[in-house]
Assembly symmetry: C2
Homo-oligomer: 236 residues x 2
Amino acid sequence: MKQQDTHIPLCFKCAFDTGSLFRFLTPEEIDKLNYEKDFRHYKRGDILYQEGNRISGFYCINEGIIKVFKTGFDGKEQIIRFAKPGDIIAYRSVLSNELACTSAKVIEDCQVCFIPSEILISFIKTNSSYALELLKLACHELGEANSFITDIAQKTVRERLAEILLLLVNDFGLDEENYLNISLTREELANIVGTATESVIRLLSEFKTDKLVELSGRKIKLLNKKALEKISNVYS
Amino acid sequence: MKQQDTHIPLCFKCAFDTGSLFRFLTPEEIDKLNYEKDFRHYKRGDILYQEGNRISGFYCINEGIIKVFKTGFDGKEQIIRFAKPGDIIAYRSVLSNELACTSAKVIEDCQVCFIPSEILISFIKTNSSYALELLKLACHELGEANSFITDIAQKTVRERLAEILLLLVNDFGLDEENYLNISLTREELANIVGTATESVIRLLSEFKTDKLVELSGRKIKLLNKKALEKISNVYS
DNA sequence: CGGTACGTTGAGTCATATCAACCATAGTGG
DNA sequence: CCACTATGGTTGATATGACTCAACGTACCG
């Protein structure tokens, strides 16, 4: 991941490569974006922004993975979502004009573009189809949040862990050997599922003895998706 | 609540009375809204729309209270939010162009206006400050959803119940005798908190013996907000 | 007056959290 | 090169919050 020397990616190319929202901008707007953006590198563990702060812009991920989380009153993280190439983060605070309600931390070394709030607002004002796409995005995320709320409130930890594994497959895919394309600590897994680290460990090793997964360190190999779907009750 | 004979409220007046989003429309747009909207009455228990269906428009509440909920795989409701005069519901599905992910049921007899999707979309296209306000609304709700996720994942039922009571105070207020201005069944309370009905009952009666609340049927009187705040850990 | 929906309470059970000990690994600094 | 430390992973023992099940009370309604 030593790519500090690569040149700055063009928004035009990036937007279409990653399928990001910016593909709805006009060529002139993309030029403006290209000109105004601030290209940055971050390493695993780096923090992009922290909850409680005022945010002066948002981030578009070009490379890497970021976790977006909220800190509970006892300091425990709750992971809200992951951002991968093409995703934008922190736009919520910018648009609602509120303080950041989450923090963002790098999981896999990143290249991101920082874009000042004013640019986003101006695009919304001048490009209504872009505004509509942003609305679509926000509303889609709202729907996912609603599902997540219902799941956490009603499902057991076991069900949720199975579901999260499938969700990660969906978001990040599997390699040729069926290993999950994202590597998380047990604690991070626990902070998505909303449980204790030890519970994740125990359940994962249960899944292992049940031949649903194979574990080698942080790599998780999916052996039986169907069975996981059944456990997770994804199809109500 | 027998007001079937009242005349249809003017959007102009309603928008400003309730502080709804529509106050950001131009006079011409409000006229159009007034013309296109479909004014409807609903009684307690009526269902406005149901998850899984395609939605052809959204609702603006003029009078009454509606609960928006999601049904878990075992049929248990999870209440996502309440809508009161000035609020709009179902806009999420309209804008994300997805099937409804929630259902809406009347808690207190309602008067609502149904507005076809096309109107909303056309306003977004022609009135950018309205689009921005909608984005603001969606993003604000996203922030609330994130908090809710973190709370359900990390707090105990006791903490959450205290928090929900305070949240209801915030949303619906107290009457002159400090009674909560919304009346919910124990089951509904449980379906917000994400717990079993019996647990809500037990905890409420604990709160009662601790002189935090007074209970008479569904009416809940708040005796000690400070103590509830302390229990709920709202100020992290 | 039976029926239906809601509320309450008690008893038993279980899933999950908590606490504690231990191991593995890797990075650090003397 | 060897402690030394920090971080993450694992396992076991124990505690307990919350759910489930069941019985019963209450109130309203046609």
